[in-house]
């Protein structure tokens, strides 16, 4: 089972970081949000493995309070 890589995996980390920030130059906040959504989708597809994506989603929001339980309303 593949695992999310948490040590550096990038040969040129500064290049990658620049790509991510440059991507948003000149964009309005909504446009940035749209571009980010597209980027996440493209990368998620490239990763493919839903367990790796799940691990990334967990870490991405671990600093925030957990989501409220889904209520059964009826």
């Amino acid at each position: 089972m593949a695992k999310l890589i948490l040590d550096n995996n990038m040969a040129a980390p500064d290049d990658v970081y620049e790509l991510l920030t440059e991507l948003h130059r000149g964009l309005e906040p909504e446009q940035s949000a749209d571009v980010n959504a597209r980027l996440i989708l493209l990368l998620a597809n490239h990763i493919g493995d839903s367990e790796v994506v799940a691990e990334a989603t967990r870490i991405a929001r671990e600093h925030l309070p957990p989501a409220p339980e889904l209520k059964r309303e009826i």
């Binding site: 597209r38 989708l41 009826i74």
Partner: protein, 558 residues
């Protein structure tokens, strides 16, 4: 308002039970003659169980309800004897188109996999299916279908359920060894048992309009339009039914006023904006719905069993309501018949909840996901949704994420307590708990299909070929299995006709294309045991009668 269909009116007929003086006891009473109650009745009749069906109404389903029936439902209906009629009347579509804002983003062709008797799905108005089921019931002596009989009270005793039934002639009492509650989403029986169905209501309203159009105006395709310019950016779905009727679903949002929206003067402009000013159409029926996904915690309370919408309800995206309800009865009928016959322990009925709760959760998960894609719940989901649609114009991967309803497929009861886990290696999807796949065969020299040959009883599929014929000892054991108290009949599945004499209860299926052997990973010697509902119970690489018996015992709850 309906012009293309005349609703039958079935007569109320006074039953002898109403004059009996004391409550008559019946083995099985079914509450509700919707698609699920009637499927249950026919299935029990095929097992020779006499059944009384009570329905508070006297006609078939009114208005715009189920349209889309998936392959598994048609296969079950084949077993019940109405599949062919559904196929004759139903329409199939293969081309689906997805639109986003101004334009089409892509189209797809749902060409079905080859070598199955039935297609992935058909479209057909719910009233036709109900009418066909009523017609079928009228050919069955075991079923006593009583219109205008409303269950108004019930209590459970040790050995029966006591019912009060209201009729045009006043009330009468009736007893049932088992009551199957098929009385729909707002089940009275559920409430009378003090039970609830809980889950999630979607804060949204949908206008469902059925319109009649000249088929020349529109191809038989399914159109799903996200954020259309003509409808305030709310999604719209179009698909075709028989009789030149098209179903259009408009997402209205939560604030819409259902009473206002239902008025023809408000519907017609919406439809025109969608179809174009010059397309001529007539409005057949329209209603406004709110959808929810919910289920009961247990589908059995003592002698009362819940099936169909009474047990679980889903939003219609993905067409899982009637489809899954009929799978409930497919699962329950043989179990109940065995329990009534004293051939299986009463605990077998708990496996009904076990297996169908698992399926209900799968269906709820799938239709919730579709609903969330169609009507995103928050800003971020909306952004993802629109990003998927935009990317899908040019990139194939994004098309797999577009979710306007996933085709309903039957559950594999992976962890069911009725399964015997594999002890040898097998490839493919026919694992214990899986519903049987199909494939063309020759039976008695006639072209047929595997699924038309299976069902209602336990059966082995024993894969053989001319180099690997069953021994005389094997054949004697197969014969003994067929003569057991709970018989196991057998098919030898062979790529070629065989020139051997077969004992009673053993038949030959010629699989000349090798499709069945391939789909079952059926190397010569392999033996599967199939349940009466065509699911796999267990399998082995070399036929062994003792193992078959053990697998069968497990499958009936021992």
């Amino acid at each position: 308002m309906i012009k293309t269909y005349e609703f039958p009116e079935y007569p109320y007929i006074r039953s002898a039970d109403q004059d009996a003086g004391t409550a008559v006891r019946r083995p099985v009473v079914i509450g509700g003659a919707g698609p699920i109650g009637m499927a249950m009745a026919i299935d029990l009749a095929l097992h020779k169980v006499p059944v009384v069906v009570l329905d508070d109404n006297n006609t078939v389903s009114f208005g715009s309800r189920a349209v889309c029936y998936a392959k598994r439902l048609i296969e079950i209906m084949d077993r019940l004897g109405v599949g062919e009629r559904m196929m004759q009347k139903g329409v199939t579509w293969n081309v689906g188109k997805v639109f986003f804002e101004e334009s089409e983003v892509y189209s797809f062709n749902m060409l079905p996999e080859e070598h199955h008797r039935r297609p992935g799905f058909i479209n057909l108005q719910q009233y036709y299916i109900e009418q066909y089921l009523v017609d079928r019931i009228q050919t069955l002596d075991e079923v006593d279908l009583r219109w205008k009989n409303k269950i108004t009270a019930l209590s459970q005793a040790e050995d029966c359920v006591r019912l009060t039934v209201e009729t045009p002639d006043g009330p009468y009492e009736l007893e049932a060894e088992y009551l199957v509650a098929c009385d729909g989403a707002n089940s009275d029986i559920r409430a009378m048992c003090g039970l609830t169905s809980s889950g999630q209501v979607f804060q949204d309203r949908f206008l469902i309009a059925d319109v009649i159009m000249d088929p020349k105006c529109f191809p038989p395709e399914r159109w799903f339009w996200f954020n259309p310019p003509f409808h305030d950016g709310q999604s719209t779905l179009l698909h075709r039914q028989p009789d030149n009727v098209w179903r259009i679903d408009f997402d209205l949002g939560w604030d819409a006023d259902p009473e206002e929206e239902k008025k023809p003067e408000n519907i017609i402009p919406r439809v025109k904006a969608f179809l174009g000013e010059d397309v001529e159409f007539e409005l057949e029926w329209a209603s406004v719905y709110t959808f929810c996904c919910r289920r009961m915690d247990d589908f059995r309370q003592g002698r009362v069993l819940f099936a169909g919408d009474s047990a679980h309800q889903v939003s219609p995206f993905g067409a899982r309501g009637a489809n899954s309800g009929v799978q409930d009865t497919d699962n329950l009928a043989w179990k109940l018949a065995l329990v009534l016959d004293g051939k299986a322990p009463v605990s077998l009925l708990d496996s009904y909840t076990e297996e169908r709760l698992y399926a209900a959760d799968e269906n709820i998960k799938n239709s919730t996901r579709s609903t969330d894609f169609i009507t995103p719940k928050n800003e971020a989901s909306h952004q993802f949704r629109d990003a998927v649609l935009n990317l899908s114009r040019n990139y194939g991967f994004a098309r797999s994420l577009v979710n306007s309803g996933r085709l309903s497929v039957p559950s594999t009861y992976v962890d069911s307590s009725l399964n015997t886990p594999d002890t040898e290696a097998f490839a493919g999807r026919m694992m214990p708990g899986a519903p049987s796949t199909d494939g063309p065969v020759l039976r008695n020299g006639q072209e047929d299909y595997l699924l038309s040959s299976l069902g209602n009883e336990f059966r082995t599929l024993l894969f053989v070929d001319p180099q690997n014929l069953p021994t005389d000892a094997d054949l004697a054991q197969l014969q003994a299995l067929a003569q057991a108290e709970l018989p196991v009949y057998s098919y030898l599945v062979s790529p070629q006709p065989l020139d051997i004499a077969l004992p009673q209860g053993v038949e030959l299926l010629v699989d000349s294309l090798g499709v069945v052997a391939e789909r079952f990973d059926g190397q010569p010697g392999t033996c599967y045991l199939m349940r009466p509902d065509q699911h796999v119970c267990g399998r082995m690489r070399r036929f062994d009668a003792d193992r078959v018996i053990a697998i069968q015992r497990k499958a009936i709850g021992h």
